[in-house]
Each structure stands twice: as C-alpha cells, then as structure tokens.
C-alpha cells in the first residue's frame, strides 16, 4: 500500500461518516463568513428553526462591499450594501458567532484576518462562501470555497457532504531570479495548466522555490489555486508556518501548542504517496509575469508581446479573439508598451504587509504617472503596521490613495470601480470581463510590477527599476 499525501491525511482526520459509495460527511474546523454569500443561509436557518451548531468555530466579517473611504463605521452610503452589512451585524449577534464589525480595527478581508488572528491553523478543514478560501491552504490546511446552500449546511451541521478529489503535485524547483515573486510563480503555473487544469484535483505546491517563500507568498500561491480550477491548494507546514502561527490571538498556547506541534509535524506527503498528476516548473525559468486577456490563464512574461488569436487551438481561438477585442489590444504589441490608467494594490491575493513593502520599495522617491493609483490594505492591522513602518507615507508621497481595508476594486462591489475602457494594473486574482467594473480592462501582476507600472504609466519589467 502506498503512503498518503498531505491532502489524504487531512481528509482522513476529518471523516465523520462515509457511505458505501464514498460520499463522505467531512467535519469542518473553521467556517468563515462574509456579508455577500451568507444572508440567505442565515435566513434558511431561521425559517427551519435551526441554530448554528458550532458558533465558536464560526468567524464573520464584512469585507466585499464595504467602502474604503470616509466614516463607513457610521454610515455606508449605498443602501443595498448597507442592508447587507447590517444583515451580517444582526446575524452574527443573533447566532452568537465571532464577529469583526466595520468599526473594529481588526476588520479586513476574511482571508487575511483568518491567518492574522490565528484562526487558520495547520491540518484544519476551513470553508467559506468565497472561492478564494483556498488561501488558507498555505498553512497546510484543507480550505476551499462553497456556495450559499453549503454555507447553510455547515452552519447547521458543521459538516460538508464531499467526495474526494484527486491528488496533484506542482513542484517549483530551484531559486527565483531577482524581481520574481510568488505572484509570478502562480500566474506561470496557471498559464501552463490552464484555468480548468486543476478541475477535480487538490493541488499540493512544493519544491525549493515554494519552501523558500514567506507565509505571505505561500498565501498568494494557494489563493489562486481556484483560478487553476482546483478545489484547493495547499503547502506542507514547516518552521516558517509554525513561526508565523505562534503567538497569534487564537493559536494554541502552552501544553496545547506542544500537542498541536506534535501532530502538525506529521503533516507532509509521504515519499511513496500516489500522485494522479505531477507538474514541474523551474524557478529559474519564471520571469515577472502579467496577464494580457480576460482569463487568468492568459499569462506571459513581461518581455513578450500580445499574442494573435490564431496561435491558440480549439475553442480558445474564439475566446482569445474575444479577449483581444475586449482588452483593446493588437497582436504583436510588446506588453511593455501597453499604457495603464489605474493601479490597484490590494486584495486577498496581495493585500498583506509583505506585498505593501514590495510595492513601496519600488515607489520610494518616485511619482506615479497614471491617472489614479490606490492601495487598499487587506486588514486594519496591515494598514496600521504599514503606517508604523512608514510605507503609507511612501505611497502617499508617490501619489497613491491610502485606503481603508476591504475587497475593494478586486471585485468592485463597493464604489471602487473601473470605467468602460479604463485599463488597470491590478494585484488581484481575476481579469474577467467586467470584473473590476463594466468595460474595465484588468492586467494581473505582482505588487512590485504594479508599482513599476504606476511610475512609468505602462506595463513595465520591474527589473528595469531596481
């Protein structure tokens, strides 16, 4: 019998009941909740007279449509957004779950504050009504997005009905070149596997280049596992993980810490584990990467040019042509000649302190050449830390707007939106048509690359500025 993968081990440790056909009730250790995908679930509980089974394992925060300016703790102007946030206020109170309201300095994007507060721990099962729940896999947790019906199911039963995914290993060997970051790794992976390449799989990222990443970088990688179609992405916990977790408000302490560590150290894939699919990339081959189209698989090194639609195959020919038309790009144009109107730095992909440091490093002593640029820290605590480190001042001196925490222009549910035709260098995760505002044109990239675009006014190889 072959050994187990990390995913197999976490799965086995959470099976409550397995039916003959393999349909399994999996126990859920942490349920994260936000205002957009939860109101109908809480309403369902009320109508059926059900309670939240484990309120102590349920953490709620408004993030998707909170404004990032003004006195939002007093009044959210948009009526529908206000109603949704108020509904979460009430649901959190009525059902007794942990809650970080807009007025709390710890409020922020749900996938940033889970790890920040120590709710996210190795070996856990973590779900949220949000596809970027994959982020938490960076801790060696099994974490994935669910729909609202499943949110209600987890609230009521603390379990999820699941069938097991296949195991995929994505190995990134060697070392990264200067100017290349976690975002470039994950964009390159998706460029290689495609947005459906991970469908049916849980991906474990491993290899020297992954192990060398900080927790922030690992979260960026796992965050975009869903963009590659995988149910979840994860990375085996190691000393980097343990050092990040220790001392966080909800991390175990004392004897419990020791007990937890003893188990966490067993969380790795065995040498003889079975993999259904293996992909390998060389760290040295990865360049600073951007997207040119309207799918996260439309990635290229910044040194490349806009491709022609007829260089693709099958249904992708039409999709590429549609992307080029939507993005207003001509095949053959060097990517570094594409002019940018707006820069957005933030999101659950790249809204952590390390991301802000990387961008500030480029911006120091420089001015923006784009029409507008904004930084939206991932949480109130990231914001406070960036202010303390002097990063906020660097951003503001360069001409960036310094905003309050939230999802903001990543999905543009709040007032932060692109206008039709407006072209944006964004550190977020999706370049879909209309994602950042109807007709808006998104190019995805790392925080350092977004900062470089801000100071030159065009897509720019960050290595030219360092």
């Amino acid at each position: 019998m072959s050994g187990k993968t990390l995913y197999d081990k976490i799965w086995d440790a959470h099976v409550v009941h397995e039916a003959e056909d393999g349909t399994t009730h999996l126990y859920i250790d942490r349920h994260l909740v936000h205002e957009v995908t939860s109101p109908q679930a809480f309403e369902g509980l009320r109508m059926a007279g059900r309670k939240v089974r484990a309120p102590e394992k349920t953490i709620a925060v408004p993030d998707h449509n909170v404004p990032t300016t003004g006195r939002r703790d007093k009044q959210i102007e948009n009526e529908e957004s206000r109603i949704q946030v108020e509904a979460l206020d009430k649901n959190a109170r009525d059902f007794g779950v942990h809650y970080y309201p807009v007025s709390d300095v710890r409020q922020g994007i749900v996938h940033i504050i889970g790890p920040e507060q120590g709710w996210t721990l190795p070996g856990m099962t973590i779900v949220c009504g949000d596809s970027h729940t994959a982020t938490h896999g960076a801790f060696g947790a099994l974490a994935h997005g669910i729909g609202t019906s499943e949110v209600e199911h987890v609230l009521a039963t603390q379990t999820l009905i699941q069938s097991k995914s296949k195991n995929m290993k994505v190995e990134v060997t060697g070392k990264l070149s200067p100017g290349v970051t976690a975002k470039d790794i994950v964009l390159s992976i998706i460029g290689k596997t495609g947005t459906a390449g991970g469908t049916g799989y849980v991906i474990e990222y491993c290899g020297e280049a992954i192990e060398a990443l900080s927790m922030e970088g690992r979260m960026t990688i796992c965050n975009m596992a869903i963009e590659g179609g995988a149910r979840a992405g994860l990375i085996a916990p190691d000393q980097t993980t343990f050092d990040y977790v220790q001392g966080r408000p909800h991390a175990p302490k004392g004897a419990q810490w020791e007990a937890a560590m003893a188990w966490w150290k067993t969380l790795y894939s065995d040498d003889d584990a079975h993999w259904d699919k293996v992909i390998t990339l060389r760290g040295e081959d990865i360049a600073p990467t951007v997207t040119w189209g309207t799918s996260p698989e439309d990635t290229l090194p910044i040194t490349a040019a806009v491709p022609a639609a007829d260089t693709f195959e099958g249904g992708k020919v039409g999709a590429a042509q549609r992307s080029l038309d939507y993005m207003g790009l001509k095949p053959g144009t060097p990517l570094s000649e594409i002019e940018i109107d707006t820069v957005f730095i933030g999101s659950c992909t790249n809204g952590r302190i390390e991301d802000l440091r990387a961008a500030a490093e480029i911006l120091k002593g420089r001015k923006i050449k784009v029409k507008r640029a904004m930084v939206v820290p991932g949480s109130g605590l990231v914001r406070a830390q960036a202010e303390e480190e002097g990063l906020a001042q660097i951003f503001q001196d360069a001409g960036f707007e310094w905003r309050l925490a939230g999802c903001s222009m990543c999905l543009a549910m709040n007032p932060d939106q692109l206008s039709p035709g407006e072209r944006c260098a964004a550190t977020s995760n999706r370049n879909f048509e209309g994602r950042q505002g109807r007709g808006g044109r998104t190019h995805l990239m790392s925080p350092a690359m977004a900062a470089a675009a801000a100071v030159t006014g065009r897509l720019t190889d960050v290595r030219e500025l360092t």
């Binding site: 056909d21 596809s131 459906a196 039409g318 999905l411 039709p420 048509e433």
Partner: protein
C-alpha cells in the same frame, strides 16, 4: 428543493469557453439578501447595453430562445467565484439544465443544491447538441435524469454519467441538511473524540 426528473424544452446554444460566474451574474446583483428575482439580470453585461436595452444578437434575447430551459455551453462553464447567485439567476430565468464538456467544481456543486442538472459530455457530443440547439425553437431536446439520457430533436439519444447520490437527491428533491441531521450522533461522537485528540481546534 425542486425535483428534477424529465424535461423537454428549447436548448439555447452558448458556444463560449470559460464562461465565468461574473458573466453569469455580475457583482452589482450580489447585494440582494434574497435568492429570487435574479433571472432578469442573467448574463447582464452580454445581454444589455450601457443604457439597459437588450442586445438583439445575444442568444437569450433572440425570439426563438427567450423560453429556453436548457443551455448548451463551452468548456469550463461556471469558473470563478463561488457565488450561488449564478445558479439562482439561471434557474430564475427558467433554465433547469446546463450541458458542457466540463464545469468548474463549485458551480457544478451549487447546481445540485438548486434543482439544476449540470451534464458533462465529451466535446464532440456537446458539438452535436450545440448544432441541434442552433436549430431554434422547433428543436426541442429531452433530458431524462432517471434514464441518464439526452434526446436531440432528431431522436438521437446520448447517454450521460452522474454520481448516483447526486442523482438520487435531485430525483427526490431531497434537502441535504435534513439528510445530514440524521447523522447527528456520528457528528456528536466525532466532536467528543476531537475534544480529546485535538483540543486546540
């Protein structure tokens, strides 16, 4: 949940790959706290221009497809966000079955929670059904979940695979939560064991 047994209806062709949930229902419509009423905004940015007028070329605006109950689409349908508003909008429009070569996982899962049948078929079979759908309102397709068959307007029969548990729940219109609550003793046992083994959770 609504049952799905057998459906005969108009199939609308949408031959695009990677149709994402932002296309199916853009974010401005996620501010609702209800599940209903989203059908009018299904595919909003493809279906209406900036002034809110219908774009006549979009398939669901064409007279022959306005009553479509089946959608035939390209690979990786429903990728992106986990928003269940996507299947809610599809169902509210009146579509009960989506056929594609592959689906993104969360969307696929969400369909079953809402009485929508997503059918995965090989690309060449989807191409055949796409051609049939392009015939318009006279080309009614039949989807039979019990038999696991799609029948084209010409009477050609195509078999599809589906997980037996999901099939059973859809045929019977079963409520997942009620089913799981029958496992309550197993959940209790698991929780007491975990309180010993992993108390930090």
């Amino acid at each position: 949940m609504d049952k799905f047994e057998k459906l005969t209806g108009i199939a609308a062709p949408l031959p695009l790959v990677n149709v994402d949930t932002d296309m199916i229902i853009p974010k401005q419509f996620l501010k609702t706290i209800k599940r209903s009423g989203l059908g009018v905004n299904l595919f909003d940015e493809m279906r209406y221009d900036d002034s809110g007028n219908e774009i006549p070329d979009f398939v669901l605006n064409k007279p022959q497809y306005r009553q479509a109950e089946i959608l035939v689409a390209g690979d990786n349908f429903g990728c992106g966000s986990s928003r269940e508003h996507a299947p809610w909008a599809i169902k509210d429009f009146g579509i009960r079955c989506v056929i594609a070569p592959s689906f993104a996982e969360i969307f696929y899962n969400n369909c079953f929670k809402n009485g929508i049948l997503p059918i995965r078929l090989p690309q060449e079979t989807v191409d055949l059904l796409m051609k049939d759908a392009e015939k318009g309102e006279n080309a009614r397709m039949t989807v039979d979940l019990e038999a696991q068959e799609v029948t084209t307007s010409d009477g050609e029969v195509v078999r599809f695979e589906i997980d037996p548990f999901r099939k059973h729940c859809l045929l019977e219109g079963l409520d997942d939560i009620a089913l799981t609550l029958e496992q309550a003793p197993a959940i209790d046992t698991f929780e007491s064991r975990m309180a010993q083994e992993r108390p930090w959770v």
